[in-house]
């Protein structure tokens, strides 16, 4: 048990571990990639000399003398490595994405270049890949009924932007409810979670401001930071010393070259990092933010609804005050079974966003049945619908998380991340095992998500399980039994039960700076 005694900032133990890659496994992984690359070159050579048929789509005859649209090398990884295991992704389903899901069977007769659907449906696959943390992806129940009523009354689309004629009374109702749920003064909702980040960060910061962003931030945060035109500096993942050093240096030395003081400093962190399963060290970040007078932007895409005794996210989990976080952002896609994103904060912030956010001025507002689904599910989590279903689900998710992680660690797999996070990455490392794991689990009727390069570092490919409150203990036991079998078959039990103590992680002095010219 590793508890940080940072002036008593943490009210509960914070157990996060990232076991080191075993040396032999790392070497074998590199060898594996080396062999694949060699074969890739060989196949490209054969395709170029027409010994092998080229199955890629090609440019039009009339445009053959145009500058080529793609560089050959860009697609090397795509053609030779991704194509071999392409069937692990984009699996089409044809039922509600709940705890069990029906999948359309597809086969490939030419090594994954094209797929054909056999027409058969594989039923009742245990779904460990969808982001359904509280089990609100349902086709029956109060949420669906309310959404159906609103659909028949309002229709599916809106055809206008928020600032023009697209602001329905439903949107106002939703925003007040979300503000109450989060414990902030005011909130605003948008139609897409990705766009919430990429369109609002540029409205908050601009040239002459500094953004300190975590190493493993999501693509939407990176895009929003780039579009804003501010200077970006990256600190090591969840490493508070690195963040403090950057803050000190920024304030003391000012902007590069001109030495002017920075206008504002914005720290971008996420609640739960979806590839690592780690939780942000929020008490320490808030302490740092207050000490150095900077602003905090917290992206709770995965943690809202999934953490905390009452499901209100990572702020609730640590028992902190929501007013300490300047900008609380999150999405409705994961725990609420709908689509869209929100930003919550002080009234001045939300007024400013209502006026100057790119989304409010140019993008269509949210669809009414989706809004109703969010309203009903938020009320359910808060307990305002008169039942205790919401509370029960939050507790069920926490229990499922603890149980699942404990059993997997006992079996001997390397599991990354915090003990309380419902995102469970299981390390695979070797490229061949990525495809093998996905296929073997599907044969045993369990659907899992595998991720490799470029979403993760090249030797750290993993399988990622997303737990849900809709998973019963029987489903988890079945899944664990199958994972155990596949783990023995593919020799995935790398753990040597030697957890790296958190304080020993070496911290080196390099900082990264990215400037926009």
């Amino acid at each position: 048990n590793h508890i940080i005694h940072n002036g008593g900032l943490y009210k509960r133990p914070f157990n996060e571990a990232f076991e080191e890659t075993p040396m032999l496994v790392a070497v074998l992984t590199y060898v594996g990639y080396g062999v694949l690359t060699l074969f890739g070159y060989l196949r490209d050579f054969m395709r170029q000399w027409k010994i092998e048929k080229c199955q890629n789509a090609t440019e039009r005859e009339e445009q053959k003398d145009f500058v080529p649209l793609y560089q050959d090398f860009e697609n090397f990884y795509n053609r030779n490595l991704y194509m071999r295991i392409r069937d692990s992704w984009n699996r089409p389903i044809c039922s509600v994405p709940g705890a069990k899901v029906d999948m359309m069977e597809r086969v490939s007769h030419d090594y994954n270049w094209t797929f054909t659907y056999t027409g058969r449906v594989i039923k009742d696959i245990i779904n460990m890949g969808s982001y359904n943390y509280l089990g609100f992806a349902q086709k029956t129940g109060p949420c669906q009924e309310a959404a159906a009523k609103v659909l028949s009354q309002y229709g599916a689309g809106v055809c206008s932007t928020r600032q023009e004629m697209g602001n329905l009374d439903k949107h106002e109702e939703l925003e007040k409810l979300v503000a109450r749920f989060l414990g902030v003064e005011s909130a605003m909702a948008y139609g897409m979670g990705f766009a919430t980040n990429s369109m609002n960060i540029p409205a908050l910061v601009g040239k002459g401001c500094l953004i300190l962003s975590d190493e493993l931030n999501h693509a939407s945060l990176v895009l929003g930071a780039r579009l804003s035109g501010a200077t970006i500096r990256i600190f090591k993942h969840n490493n508070m010393q690195s963040l403090e050093k950057l803050l000190k240096d920024a304030i003391v030395h000012g902007q590069p070259r001109t030495r002017r003081p920075w206008k504002k400093i914005l720290i971008l962190v996420e609640g739960i990092y979806s590839m690592e399963g780690s939780i942000v060290r929020l008490p320490e970040v808030i302490a740092l933010k207050k000490k150095y007078k900077s602003y905090l932007y917290l992206d709770e895409a995965h943690s809202i609804g999934a953490l905390g005794p009452s499901g209100r996210g990572v702020v609730d989990y640590f028992g902190l005050n929501p007013e300490d976080v300047d900008v609380m952002m999150g999405t409705f896609t994961k725990s609420f079974g709908a689509a869209g994103g929100y930003i919550g904060g002080k009234k001045e912030l939300i007024d400013y966003l209502r006026t100057y956010s790119h989304s409010a001025a140019y993008a269509t507002s949210m669809s009414p049945p989706v809004v109703e689904q969010i309203i009903t599910s938020v009320k359910c989590i808060m307990g305002e619908d008169g039942t205790t279903i919401g509370e029960a689900r939050v507790q069920q998710l926490a229990e499922n998380t603890r149980y699942f992680r404990r059993r997997l660690k006992e079996m001997g797999f390397i599991i990354y991340g915090n003990e309380d996070s419902p995102v469970v990455p299981l390390m695979l490392y070797m490229p061949a095992k990525i495809g093998a794991f996905g296929r073997e689990m599907l044969k045993r009727n369990i659907g899992v998500v595998v991720v490799g390069f470029p979403a993760t570092p090249i030797i750290e490919s993993r399988a990622r399980f997303c737990l849900s409150a809709a998973h019963t203990k029987e489903m988890l036991d079945t899944a664990l039994k199958e994972i155990n079998e596949v783990g023995d078959l593919l020799q995935l039990k790398y753990s040597r039960r030697r957890l790296v103590p958190l304080l020993d992680r070496p911290f080196d002095e390099t900082t990264y700076e990215e400037t926009e010219d």
């Binding site: 145009f66 669906q144 659909l151 689509a339 209502r354």
Partner: protein
């Protein structure tokens, strides 16, 4: 060996030993400040407030509240009006068949998809919608996005990278501008619909190329235009653009958000309107939020081009997929469009009628083509500052709203737009508006202009 040789080698070896054992030094020498001075600097630094305060009466702050569905008859701020502001061109927002298709989908799939396309977020409805759109537009493949704005803003950076050149019209909409900004390419603006200006820029680029042919061979070039421009209501001269494309070897990206489902005999957009082979356009992007009365957007074109976005379109890979009920609504809307090809001509007749009726209003001029369903009414003479123009137009809009016609001003982010259009009132024509309503709107606008502007 000569003596100086040995001495030189000896010195070299001593130098290497010295380098090996000396301490590494940091490249940035920043040790001039003492710890106390650093702490003082940290104490003294005062940041700006996170956001500046917004005055209470800012025109964009107070939204119109619509109670009930935003259909033909709309209740805005408690008043019932005829809707001339929502982009519901084909009147499909309130269509019973569309709603029941969405209901059926809701009963089967629930609301959300709980995942991006790569991780169990691909539903059979998405695959069906992509097939139907590709068949409708007569291209090889189509790809769907879950948000209209993100469609073109993710498509452009997927192809155009740092160092590539993009020629874009000045009146391009904000989504295109954001896509260009994310791509980090060289942007060259040409005057709105001015083919001579574009040709001049292309010629300049050609002379640049001759100076550096190796670089020219790997620099991709694109032209980005809209079919029907949102900001000005007119169409781009596509046949001339095709000629320029083949002459200067530039690829064309066409943004058809307003013209999809409006132009052309069957509603296939500006390519059908001009009778151009659709394969000549490299990428057509449109959003489904106007004519199709759903949410989201799509790109269509040849598989060679579209397939690339499945791995490099940011809004596609890193975002949850479109809720199935909205995809089902879009499929049903497509069915209706295919079954009733005469609505397009009806819409065009109505547009021409109101375009003619709005001519000659004193103080306001009509901006837009006669068959464009989204027109702008701009002030003939500005009264000096943009703020005052906006206030004046607001009074016209309020007069109309009080008498039962819902209109809105075109909202822009004034500091963010590259070429800010002048303030204007947006007039949107839909198939559901009857001729009496069109005439009523025109006469009401005349009255409003008379009373407010004189």
């Amino acid at each position: 060996a000569p003596a100086y040789h040995l001495i030189l080698e000896g010195i070299l070896i001593l130098w290497i030993v010295r380098l090996l054992f000396s301490k590494t030094y940091k490249l940035q020498e920043r040790s001039d400040l003492t710890l106390k001075e650093k702490e003082e600097l940290i104490e003294e630094w005062q940041p700006e407030p996170l956001v500046p305060s917004v005055p209470e009466d800012h025109p964009a702050l107070n939204y119109n509240i619509v109670s009930g569905p935003p259909t033909h008859i709309i209740t805005v701020n408690g008043k019932e009006c005829i809707n001339f502001a929502s982009f519901n061109f084909l009147g499909l927002l309130n269509n019973e068949k569309v709603k029941s298709a969405a209901q059926a989908s809701l009963k089967k799939y629930g609301v959300g998809t709980c995942g991006p396309r790569g991780f169990y977020g691909t539903f059979d409805v998405h695959l069906e919608l992509e097939e139907r759109l590709a068949k409708f537009m007569r291209t090889e493949e189509a790809i769907i996005y879950s948000y209209g704005f993100a469609t073109i803003a993710s498509a452009i950076p997927a192809y155009s990278k740092r160092g590539d050149i993009v020629f874009v019209d000045e009146a391009a909409c904000f989504a295109i501008q954001k896509g260009l900004q994310a791509s980090r390419s060289n942007i060259k603006l040409f005057k709105h619909n001015d083919m001579a200006d574009l040709e001049r820029l292309l010629k300049e680029q050609e002379t640049e190329d001759q100076k550096n042919p190796r670089k020219a061979r790997v620099t991709r070039r694109f032209i980005v235009v809209e079919g029907l421009y949102m900001n000005t209501g007119d169409i781009c001269p596509l046949p001339e653009l095709i000629k320029l494309k083949y002459k200067y070897k530039v690829r064309i990206f066409l943004e058809e958000s307003l013209s999809f489902g409006v132009l052309g005999e069957h509603g296939r957009g500006i390519t059908e309107h001009f009778g151009i082979n659709i394969d000549d356009i490299d990428l057509i992007s449109a959003n489904m939020e106007n004519s199709l009365a759903s949410i989201g957007g799509f790109c269509c074109g040849r598989s060679f081009i579209i397939d690339h976005q499945r791995l490099s379109g940011q809004g596609y890979c890193f975002s949850a997929s479109l809720p199935p009920l909205l995809a089902a609504a879009a499929i049903e809307a497509l069915n209706i469009m295919e079954d009733n090809p005469d609505i397009f001509q009806t819409l065009r007749t109505k547009c021409e009628r109101i375009h003619k009726a709005l001519q000659g209003i004193s103080g306001l001029k009509v901006v837009g083509e006669s068959f464009s369903p989204a027109l702008h009414l701009q002030l003939e003479e500005s009264c000096g500052s943009r703020e005052n123009d906006v206030k004046l137009l607001k009074r016209v809009v309020d007069y109309c709203m009080n008498s039962g016609i819902a209109l809105t001003q075109a909202h822009y982010l004034e500091k963010e737009e590259k070429c800010l259009p002048p303030p204007s009132i947006r007039v949107v024509i839909t198939v559901e508006q009857t001729e009496q309503e069109l005439d009523k709107a025109a006469s009401l606008l005349k009255e409003a202009a008379q009373s407010v502007l004189n």
